[in-house]
Amino acid sequence: MKNYLNYCFIVLMACSKKFEPPPPFSGADIEATISIKQMRDAHIPGAFGKWVGDDIITGIVIANDATNNFYKSIVVQDSTGGITIKLDGFSLANDYPLYQRVFIRLNGLWLSEYGGMLQLGAGIDNNDPRYVDLLPIPVPLFSRYILKGNIESAPTPIHVNFDQLKDSLQSRLIQIDSVELAVADTAKPFADAINKTTVSHTLRLCSVGTVYLRTSGFADFAAIKTPRGNGSIRGIYTVFGTQKQIQIRDTGDVQMNGIRCSGARLIFYEDFETIAVNTGLHISGWKNITENGSALFEGKWTAPNKYVEISAFATYQPVVNSWLILPPINLNNSTHEQLSFLTKDGFDNGAVLQAYISSNYDGGNSPSKAKWTPLKATIAKGSVNGPATKWTPSGPISLQGYTGKVYIAFKYEGADIPDPLLKKTTRFQLDEIKIVGN
């Protein structure tokens, strides 16, 4: 009987006329008569203007409500300009996905500014003459005013600096490079997802200027934390009064992982200017360990600079292994950490100075028991006939991927034996050890 019922069901489904999906949409057979710039230029600033005349603009959708950061609106641009269109519906991204070409019949639509931002709507609400409002296009009129073309490829954003941010760029897809969030705004949620309120974070350009990263509390990504670093941001340029704003479509629009231009936070710094010279280095928290042989890292002074130095020379020992280990460093309160230091070599005959990092070193006198990972640093070399004249910068060494307590160590490996081919007694000098982060 059960089978019979299922059979009934299947027969019925089969009997009901099978509809084929319609052929792929080929796009509206319509052309623009004016550009978006022409439309914008025709607007008298501050006025509510009803468009009269059978003009059509076209453009592609560059923002919608797919992540709910844009509420009841889509943003459309052509090569001359962009415009925000207020639409009185939800899930607009279904009908107007990103990069969908649309044609907009302007006749009967209204243009007005909201906080200086030019928008297109279907009417005005002047019930309260003090606050006249532009009304969004009602759902049943979407098809009257908006015709759809094909989905096109993503347009290249316009790269701008602060001086180029003019009202003519409103509602356009822009990209700002070398930009970072103000320190107070880093690692904060994009917006207030709990109270569903909009948040504007301050974005500082490395060159000059401030724009605001504006995010709705309804955005799907509102609870995600903002990045600490420096980089580029892409989004829709909007204004509110005199405030210049950028509104992103999704977190993929934010690529800010670099070191901040405004001066990164110093996590660790040692320039050895207060040490005792010509003796084994002794700073509280540091470890200066001779694992094999007796060569210690020693404080040195060449006016006006103090630094540390090590060499196996004149130790007469076949194996010289020495460690200089920095105090433990906590990476929990920072991101994008970078290590850098300076080295200088002298009488280079093949000894090695190498920087390491470890997460499991116990702080004791047997560093070899821990797991040390070499760090990719540029170390001075090749000064065979005497000391080098210049310090060699190590370059920025990223510590990304490490969290919690870590140790940084410098290990010297040399040998002082008579055979000139096996003798490794290079003198290394080390200074300006620095860890920065965001």
């Binding site: 019922l5 069901f9 084929e20 009185d88 279904n94 009129l141």
Partner: protein, 822 residues
């Protein structure tokens, strides 16, 4: 040839009439043409000499035939009683579904000729202990169907359109076997509703054998019905789209595709036996087995706009700005497809939503068509013993044991161009705090579903009912008296097949069974003053279990029980006077009925909670009182005048208690009182009047009636009568939310003409019957019902955002039956 011309002429005439004005909507509930009342053969009169015969069954009475027949189109319900107060017994088996206690007329729709043999008893009755309303006793056994070999053709402009029916009923043959075969087909289209469709095949086979005192019958019957669903619509929507407009269809590649379909096939097999071991004892037993499916179809959607074309935000009234209202109105009037479903848009969206889930990459459907299925299995047994104890006294005892399984679920019917759908709860999405909330079934989270797969909800209700009744009746020379009692045991249980993400603790598996024990007593007396005059008095007191569909507040998602379960108590008293003479038949009744401790349950989508919400109502108290009168006056032997007047007052006598349950939230919602004291009982006109003329000059007959119904109150939304609602409305306008809406008075005129004659063909005479019925001759517009939308709110100008939805009666409509008797 003459006949053909005549038929063609009739058809033309009525098509012209029909085309003049649009026909109107009809509800999905059993339509009057399905319930053709044909009266039982003359009831066996127990009268012996010296006895004054008792009053006849209701079927013969104008009062009751008018209620079923004339006032049906105006949705008049006898004494304002709820549907569960009516019953239908077929071959002894009570056919009312246990799920909602309603009579499933559609299960055997289209078999009019075979199911016509019915006796109707108004009220609980004397010999039986029936329901308070009308009780139909039908015999659909091979020998009880009138012996015939007929073909009937019906042409009409009604929803059921055209019908062909073939009946071959052979009475008992020499070997005491009787057989009946009945097949009928119905086909309807857009007569009543744009985008409407209807196909139906009905069948009946009966085989009967008489063996000594035993009479054994097996009947198999059913109807396969597939038709459009009928939406209630707002006045605004009909103003824009016309009276026949229907928001459920849209053009799709040149074809009208309808999203709202209803399917039904619930075949029944009834084995019945009659046994008279002696003259005085009569035993009737029957077993019914029935198994079938019904479903309606509709949209489900996920992260997308409401696809229904009559969604309130898509209509002009949603705008606060009058210019925009006007603009939308103009746009819709010049683009009528804006009132229909935009299938192309749905297909386009569904085919541009690439998504990878559980390793499956494809277009995840934003919209689908779903079927909401109900698989019903019934196993009913009845047995009844009637014994004539003395010449005047007899008694009847009966037992009914019924078991019903109702398995409800949703299936994906059509992915509408997408590749798959996911078993997620679209409304729970806003609940970001619990990531499981979105899962319809935690046992199989994120399950990808394809066409035919079950999703959404899946549960089974098991209902058991055992009813025992006993009646005793005595018929003395001047006095009939009867007394009876009934006991009723009911048990309900829910078995969930899904573990809902919001209610993981009480959605999966079997709930505890819950049972109710009820009873009732009746007593009545008829004083037979003379063969012309009778005085009646009847009393009834009974209690009823709540319906299973009200016991579980949201059986879709969990097995929580209504917070104030109680058995409903009913007390009724009625008195009547019957006067019959050679020219006058007069009947006058008065009744009063009290109901206490009723419960109710309403479910709807609540805008504010963004969820399906159930309102559990309790402490429902009602009082129904009324006077019923009918008069048939025979002017000449061929002309009679018929008058009917039914005046009632049915109202709620107290405030009610409500508790809110939100499908998408774990904790119960608001509680409080519903302020509806003295609100009228909705769903039926409370007053009905009819003036009719019957004319039987000889070979043909005609009946003409003007019917007038009034005091029809709309189904109201209790939520609007709560304190919270009062606060909301008082911020805008004063008191507009509170009054109950009364539907306009209804008036319509019906005409029935019939004749029969012989067609002589090769010396063989073929009797032909023609029967024409024209309803609503003057094409009056009226509502057959409606409801305040259960959600409510006000827009900025203080108007109701969710206006009343109405069902509208068809305009002038006809059906012409031609029956050939071979």
């Amino acid at each position: 040839m003459h006949l053909l011309l005549f038929v063609a002429g009739c058809l033309l005439l009525f098509f012209v009439n029909a085309q003049k004005k649009d026909s109107l909507l009809k509800t999905l509930i059993a339509e009057p043409e399905d319930i053709q009342i044909v009266y039982a053969e003359d009831g066996e009169s127990r009268a012996t000499s010296g006895f004054i015969p008792s009053p006849l069954h209701a079927s013969k009475e104008l009062l009751y035939s008018a209620i079923s027949f004339r006032f049906g189109a105006g949705r008049y319900r006898y004494r304002g009683l709820d549907p569960r107060s009516f019953s239908y017994r077929m071959n002894g088996i009570k056919m009312n579904r246990l799920y909602d206690q309603q009579i499933p007329w559609n299960d055997w729709g289209g078999l009019n000729e075979s199911t016509a043999n019915q006796t109707i008893v108004a009220g609980v009755g004397e010999e039986q202990f029936g329901n308070m309303g009308m009780n139909n006793y039908g015999l659909v056994e091979a020998s009880s169907i009138r012996t015939q070999k007929t073909i009937s053709f019906v042409t009409s402009n009604r929803a059921y359109g055209n019908r062909v029916s073939f009946v071959h009923a052979q009475g008992y043959n020499k070997k005491q076997w009787a057989t009946t075969l009945h097949i009928s087909g119905r086909k309807g289209g857009e007569q009543i509703l744009d985008g409407g469709f209807l196909q139906s095949i009905s069948y009946l086979m009966a085989l009967q054998k008489k063996y000594k005192a035993i009479d054994l019958n097996l009947t198999l019957l059913g109807a396969i019905l597939s038709r459009n669903t009928t939406p209630a619509t707002t006045n605004e929507y009909r103003f824009l789209g016309g009276q026949k407009t229907n928001p459920y269809w849209g053009w799709h590649q040149g074809v009208k595709k309808n999203a709202g379909a209803y399917f039904l096939h619930q075949p029944k097999m009834i084995l019945s036996a009659h046994y008279s071991p002696t003259e005085d004892i009569y035993i009737q037993s029957a077993i019914m087995y029935s198994q079938g499916l019904q479903y309606t179809t509709g949209f489900d959607w996920y992260q997308a706009a409401d696809p229904r074309a009559d969604y309130y935000r898509y209509l002009p009234s949603y705008q606060n700005d009058s210019l925009l209202q006007h603009q939308i109105q103009q746009w819709i009037l010049s683009n009528p497809q804006a009132l229909q479903i935009n299938w192309d848009r749905i297909y386009q969206i569904n085919s541009h939503n690439l998504f990878t889930l559980q390793g499956i990459r494809g277009n995840r459907a934003k919209y689908i068509l779903e079927s909401r299925n109900r698989y019903t299995k019934q196993f009913f047994i009845t047995t009844q013993l009637q014994q004539q104890i003395t010449a005047t006294d007899s008694w009847t005892i009966a037992v009914d044991i019924s078991k019903e399984y109702v398995h409800s679920n949703k299936r994906v019917l059509d992915l509408l161009g997408a590749d798959y759908y996911v078993n997620w709860n679209q409304f729970a999405n806003s609940n970001i705090l619990d990531t499981n909330a979105i899962q319809n079934d935690l046992n199989e989270p994120d399950r990808v579903v394809y066409a035919g797969d079950i999703f959404g909800y899946d549960y089974r209700l098991q209902v058991e009912e055992i009813v025992g009744t006993a009646s005793w009746i005595t018929r003395k020379q001047k006095l009939d008296m009867h007394i009876g009692g009934t006991l009723n045991y009911t048990q309900y249980q829910r078995i969930g097949n899904m573990r809902n993400g919001l209610f993981p603790g009480n959605s999966f598996g079997a709930s505890l069974p819950i049972s109710f024990l009820n009873g009732g007593i009746k007593a009545g007396i008829t004083y037979k003053h003379s063969g012309k005059q009778y005085f009646l008095f009847n009393m009834l007191a009974l209690s009823r279990a709540p319906l299973v569909q009200h016991v579980f507040v949201a059986a879709r998602v969990h097995s929580l029980l209504h917070p104030a379960l109680s058995n409903e108590k009913i007390f009724q008293a009625e008195a009547g006077w019957i006067y019959n003479s050679s020219t006058t038949k007069f009947r006058l009744n008065g009744f009063i009925l009290h109901k206490y401790d009723g419960i109710d349950l309403l479910s709807f989508y609540h805008d504010e909670y963004q969820s399906l919400v159930s309102y559990a109502l309790s402490e429902v108290k009602q009082m129904h009182l009324g006077i019923e009168a009918s008069l048939v006056y025979t002017v000449t032997p061929s002309l009679s005048v018929e008058l009917v007047a039914l005046v009632g007052d049915y109202r709620f006598t107290t405030t009610q208690q409500f508790a809110t349950y939100i499908d998408n939230e774990i904790s119960p919602g608001d509680k409080g009182r519903v302020f509806i004291k003295n609100f009228k009982v909705p769903g039926t006109p409370q007053q009905a009047f009819s003036v009719g003329l019957g004319y039987k000059p000889g070979k043909w007959w005609a009946n003409f009636a003007v019917n007038y119904l009034r005091d029809y109150w709309l189904d109201f939304n209790p939520v609007r009568r709560t304190y919270a609602a009062g606060r909301l409305q008082s911020q805008t306008k004063s008191n507009w939310i509170f009054p109950q809406e009364k539907l306009p008075d209804i008036i319509y005129t019906d005409l029935f003409v019939g004749t029969s004659f012989y067609l002589t063909k090769k010396k063989k005479q073929v009797p032909i019957m023609l029967f024409l019925s024209v309803n609503n001759c003057f094409n009056n517009l009226f509502y057959t019902g409606g409801y305040e939308q259960l959600r409510f709110g006000v827009n900025e100008s203080g108007d109701n955002k969710f206006p009343t939805k109405y069902f509208v009666a068809p305009g002038i409509n006809y059906s012409l039956t031609t029956r050939f008797n071979f």
